[in-house]
Each structure stands twice: as C-alpha cells, then as structure tokens.
Subunit: 437 residues, 2 copies
C-alpha cells in the first residue's frame, strides 16, 4: 500500500481550506483589477535555461528539475524546471510578447511556485505567490500605485495594523560607499543588514565583521541605520544618494494621496535579500508575524536578460500562506467563509421518490441554493444526522403525506423546527431564513 | 540570450486568454457548488509511487518525473512526478482523510495536469481538467446528479446541441461474453470498439480481427453495436448484463427529472478507453468537435489501491481547453468577457498633479471602477492614443482649467465626446455610461 500523505513540504487543501484561500484570492484579484492590473498565467515549468542563473547560487540548488522524456530519462538529463518565482517568467513573457503587450504592461499573477527547500513550520515546497508588476515606466507613480494597491488588499481583508517600510537600493549603496565599504562586499553587507530586525545590532555587527568589513565602516553603517539624521548626513555627501533620497520623498508624497498614506514610512535599514533590485524596495509586516507578509521593489535590468535591452520594472509580491496564517490565528475570516458548502439537503424517503427528490433539488438550485441530495433511500434519522455532521442548515422531507398534498417539509437543523409548505415556496423560505439567522 | 517561448506543449495565458478561462471556470465552479460538490486541491506533484502503475504502460511513459534533490540529482533518480490526472490524487486523499471527510464526499477539482505527450493541435503537455467525483454510494442518483450538473454547466455556457452517451462496462462485458470473445481479449476489444465513431465499422472489424478476435465474434459484436435490439437480445441472456441494463434504465429514468433529460441516451457502442471503470460510463460531445468535451464513469476499485478496502466512486471530467476552443470558434463568449480589463484611465497633465491624479483614481476605484493611471506626465494626445490602443472606454483629464474649477473632464473614447463635471460625479457618470452603451 503506498503512503497516502502528500509529498513532503506540500499540502492537500480540503474544502474548508480552499474556501479560505479562495476568499483571500478573490479579494486580492478584485483589488488588483481595480488598480488596472491584468491577469497573466505562465506554465508550471520553464525550459531549465530560463531559470538557471537567475536566483543566485543558493537559488539554483532549490530549483526542482524535471527529467527529459524518452530514452534520456535514464541519463538523468533535465531539460525543464518548476517555476521558482513569478518574476523571471514575467520577464520572459515581456520579451516574447513585446509587440502585443501595452507599453506600460501591468499584470497580476497568482500561482504556485516550487522550491526544494527544507520543509519547516510555515515553509513549504509548494506555495502561492500573489504578484503585481508594472513594466515600462520609471515614474514614482508606479511605486505609489503598488503601495496603494497592496494597502487596499490588506485593509479589505481586515488588517488595520500593518506597516510598510520603504527604502532605496541606491541609498544603501551610497551609505556603504560613504562608510568606505569596498564595492565587492556590498552584496554581503546588504544580506547582513537585512537581518537587523531578526538578529539585532550585535548580530549584524558580528556578521559584517565576519564578512570582512572594517570595524570603522561597521560602526558608521550601524550608526546611520539606527538614526535617520545620521543616515541622511552620511548619504547627503553622495550625489546618486541624494537623488535616491529625493525619489523616496516623491514616492512618499504620492502615497499620501492613496490608501497607503498612514502605513508607509522611510526605513533606512530595510535591505531585502534579492540581488536584482535596482531602486526603491518595499516590505510589509504586521506585529504578530516574524518576517514579512510581502515585499518588492524596482528591478530595471531583469527583462534585459531576455530581451537584450532593459525595461523599467517594479513589482510587489504578497505571500498567500502568511496572510492566511495571520488571518486564521486572529479569527479574521467572515463567518460565511467557514460556513460549509451546502445550503440545503434533500432527503430520499424511498426508492420510488428519487426522481421527485432530484426534481425538488433542481427547483432549489434554480432558486440559487447550493443543494446536496442524500444519494440513497435510508432511515430519515440517519439522513438528519448526516446533514447535521456536515453543518447543512436545512433539510427537506417529502414523505407520503407531503407527496399526497404536493407539499414539502423543511427542517431547520439549527432550531430543530419543521414546517410544511408548497414545493414552490421552499427555495424562497430557505433563502429568507438563511439571511435572518 | 535564452529562448523566450514557453516550453513545448505549454502556453502563456495573456490577459484576454485568462478572462475567457476565468469566465468558463467561474460558471463550472458555481454550477458544481449548486450541486453540493465541494472544492479540493492537491499538490502539483505526487510521490512517484502514487502515480506509477495507475495509468497503464502507455500512461507510465507520459508521466513527468522530477529529480531527487541534493547529491542524488546527478544519479538521475526521480522521487516525485507531476500530477497526471485528478482521479488518482483524489483516491489518495480519500484514503488519507477518511475520518475527516463525509461518507458521501462529493468534490470538484479544477487544476492543471501534465502529460509528456507529443504536442499537437489541441494536445498540450499542460492542460486543465475540471472534475467532479462522488464517493461512497452505489446509487444511480449519483450518476443522474453528475449528468444533470454537467448538462447545466454546458447549458449555462450557452451550449444547446450537446449529447450525452451513456453505457455500462458490465453490459459491454456481457456482450463480449455472449459473443464468445475470450476474457483475455476484453480490454483490447474495448479499445477497438471505443474507436467506432472515429474509424467506422470496417476499421473496428479490422482492428478486432488483428487483435485475435474470431470473425464470428466480431460479427456478433458489430451487429449488436449497430442495432439496439440485437444488442438487447445478446445481453438479455447474461444475468449480470440484465442487471446492468436495468441500472442504465434507472439512471435514464432519474435523469428525466433533471436538466440532462433531453441530452442523455443509451449508446451501446460507447466504450471509453480507461481501464479502471467498473459500471456506468458517460461521454459528452458536440457535432463540431471530433472527440469529446468530457466523460466519466463509475470506478469502484481505485480507492481500494490506497485504502485496502473498496469505496464506490463515480466521476465526470470536463476538458477546459476543448470547451474554450468550441466557444471561441462559435463566438459564444459574452461581450463583457472580451471587453478588456480597464474601465477608465486617469491622465497626468504634468508632474505637479500626479498626487491629484492618484486621488481621483482612488475615488473612481471606490466607486467600483477598474482604473488605470497613465504613469508619467506626457502629451495628452499620446495618452489618449495609449488608452485607445488598450480599448479603455473612458479617460479623465484634469488640466489647469479643471483644476481651478474643481472639475474633471471625461472623454468617451468610443464617441469622442468630452464632458466636464464635478469630481464627485465622475464615477457615477462612467458607470451609467458604460451600462447604457
């Protein structure tokens, strides 16, 4: 007998899980469409060359590789690989359909990605990303619109206490240069700085020293990261740094006219791990979750790897699983989401009335109800018990009396009350009673 | 520069494609929920043992296999495989969660599957299946409800000319036994008979003879398949055949009380290719499509391969791609589906009014509109041209005059007319005008 568990790091989603996921995805999709983002989907796998070399050395190791078909299967050669994120496939799509897509292509994409990571609490091998990306423009309107859209998603879901940190990669570079960190160590330094909230001042200090940054430089950086005015002083001596600082101000000023106004602030120590960012970087968090609910930034060079010329680009990715974890822990789902999938169940009194049961179910469905039919003639008590175990709120009964009179009895499973009525009135009665309960 | 095409046999879905797909999926999901089916999703890959040996020798070869991670990557060992259909994962799920799922678990599942088939017109390596399955009951109510649900899906999508063929595997076995076809050849014979509509009488005859069936048996079978009364005569001598024939009648009688009434009929030569069917089999087709839009049947033994005891089961699978092909060729999509993703675009007159543009966009979005913002200050003519190329029906302009007066000009891109109005009235005006156009 083979194991019946899903593969390590993956999950089966039973009906209640799906209803929660679909609720969140529905809100995300609706808000993103209001912001003019259009849907895109790409295949689950890509040609392996499309993905290799895009995510750094560690990323390469986490890509799931698919064996080439046919006789090559025995050689271990892989020619396809599972989608690792939604950004690289987008860059490929923008290059492939450059003549069909609008100049300022804005897309959302909500699909699973796969990483051969070690599974852990909250870390899966299959998980969903919900991305928006705006191509073709360098304007700070792009960042402001994305911050607004993400804020509206979270507000609509019921989050009131999220914060968005905003920073700029060029500002961080300016700080590192002003602090005399050699360019070759900038990548390492950013990875260390990105951990500030997790490992604190001493942790970052130790890490930077360990990566070969001079003590004086470490002190200069940490001083700047902990005090905005020191930071401003340090980067004000750096021309591109001043320009980046002004860009941050433009984004903040524009965001002030959007739903992100109260949430977003400039945070010098936000660094973000990914290497491909070139401009503004953003990250969203809530107090009761370690790590972020999502993040993003500007990456103006990635499309160039597929197209041969750069296209300005900026994106934001929300993590579906993390949103659901927090919403579940806080009890944020509306009762209707948890309420089960069936409004009424039609019982079957005996084999002779099965056709009439199906016809009654058809009536109720045309009336807009989600209706299950108990599939077999069985003791009524057993059918009630089954409906009750599934949280079905209403059950219909057509016994010999009802049949003779052309009526239907409807049992409210929550109150236990039973009422007899003409068949034509059942759907409206259940709809009305569901609404008032 | 790597290729920017999607991998062979897969597709990128651009916004218009997604809108068509989401429309069809939305109808399918809604109808299936009305019939009491609940959503389920399973991981994209399964442990390789879960899939191997379930789809026959040919099927095994078409399974995409994923390399084991880490040092094993070089050995070519595969431990995971991409989902090949939605039925085997369901059987695993029913075994794994037997204590949590209701006795008569009815689920729908709409997810992609992957097959390493040779790509051809209409045959993809990644495609969507839309399945319903009902577990736990042998009652013909199950088949009748599935036929009704599938009929209602197609009717809701606008199909008026589909037909559903109904047959029973035990009836076919009875016919083969009555025609003295040796049991060892039954599987081969069914594969041949399944091609009747494609290759005709002579083709089937040649194929059955080629597979070793005696000429007299071939004649008996073909005679029966072409004439219902001969068929009935042949199987009436066979006890299990008579019982299966009676089961078909029960399903037809029940279907008469459902939306499937006019569509479904008993067709003795329907065979279906899959080996796991044990009872009723069903297939749905339209005149202008070779092959079927979907099909299904009863498979009472599959869950037993995971659970150790059999569970009655019956399912029906609709092919999303085929439905979309026919709907596209026939022009069946409502105009709103093709209508693009944006209701209005906000122009930007100059950099100083970018904040006001974002605030106006916010107003319109709160009013329920899908709104894009042109991201950069640019010549108005260029912004109009961009909106026109994207089929955006309304464009807003806030120039110096409008700004001074607190008004907004709205240009109807279809008529070219432009009207000035207070900012607070813009959303309602666009909503009203969209509705009447």
């Amino acid at each position: 007998m083979p194991s019946t568990k899903p593969p390590s790091g993956t999950r089966d989603f039973l009906p209640d899980d799906i209803r929660r996921r679909e609720y969140v995805i529905g809100v995300i999709r609706k808000v993103y469409e209001r912001y003019g983002f259009e849907p895109l989907e790409t295949p689950a796998f890509e040609n392996i060359e499309t993905l290799l070399g895009k995510y750094g050395e560690e990323g390469n190791k986490l890509i799931f590789k698919i064996l080439k078909r046919g006789e090559h299967e025995s050689t271990g050669e892989a020619d396809l690989a599972l989608r690792y994120d939604l950004t690289v496939p987008l860059a490929r799509v923008v290059a492939q359909y450059q003549n069909e897509l609008p100049k300022f292509f804005k897309r959302y994409q909500i699909q699973p990605v796969w990483r051969a990571d070690r599974p852990a609490k909250g870390r899966f091998r299959e998980f969903f990303q919900c991305d928006i990306d705006s191509m073709g423009s360098n304007s700070p309107v792009v960042e402001a619109e994305q911050l607004a859209a993400v804020s509206e998603v979270l507000t609509t879901l019921g989050f009131a206490d999220f914060t968005i940190q905003l920073n700029h990669r060029v500002l961080l570079t300016a700080m590192l240069e002003a602090a005399n960190v050699p360019a070759a160590l900038h990548g390492d330094a950013l990875v260390g700085i990105d951990k500030y909230d997790k490992i604190g001042r001493d942790g970052v200090s130790k890490e930077l020293l360990g990566r070969g940054v001079e003590a004086a430089s470490v002190d200069a950086c940490l001083g700047a990261l902990e005090d905005v005015s020191s930071f401003e002083r340090l980067v004000s001596t750096h021309e591109r740094g001043r320009a980046a600082r002004a860009e941050i101000d433009r984004i903040l000023a524009l965001a002030a006219d959007t739903p992100a106004a109260q949430q977003v602030s400039f945070v010098p120590r936000l660094a973000r791990g990914l290497s491909y960012y070139t401009g503004a970087i953003m990250e969203i968090s809530v107090p009761d979750l370690a790590g972020s609910l999502g993040g993003g930034g500007r990456y103006d060079n990635l499309v160039g790897m597929f197209l041969g010329r750069d296209v300005p680009a900026c994106g934001f990715s929300l993590g579906l699983e993390r949103i659901i974890v927090v919403m579940t822990e806080r009890g944020m789902f509306p009762p209707s989401v948890a309420g089960g999938g069936v409004d009424a169940m039609v019982t079957i009194w005996n084999d002779d009335v099965r056709g009439e049961a199906l016809a009654l179910a058809g009536d109720l469905r045309r009336g807009g109800l989600r209706v299950d039919v108990y599939p077999e003639a069985d003791k009524l008590g057993k059918q009630f018990k089954y409906a009750s175990s599934r949280n079905v709120p209403f059950v219909t009964i057509v016994g010999d009396d009802e049949r003779a009179a052309g009526t239907v009895s409807v049992k409210d499973m929550r109150s236990g009350e039973q009422q007899r009525m003409p068949r034509s009135e059942v759907a409206a009665y259940i709809l009305r009673s569901s609404r008032t309960s």
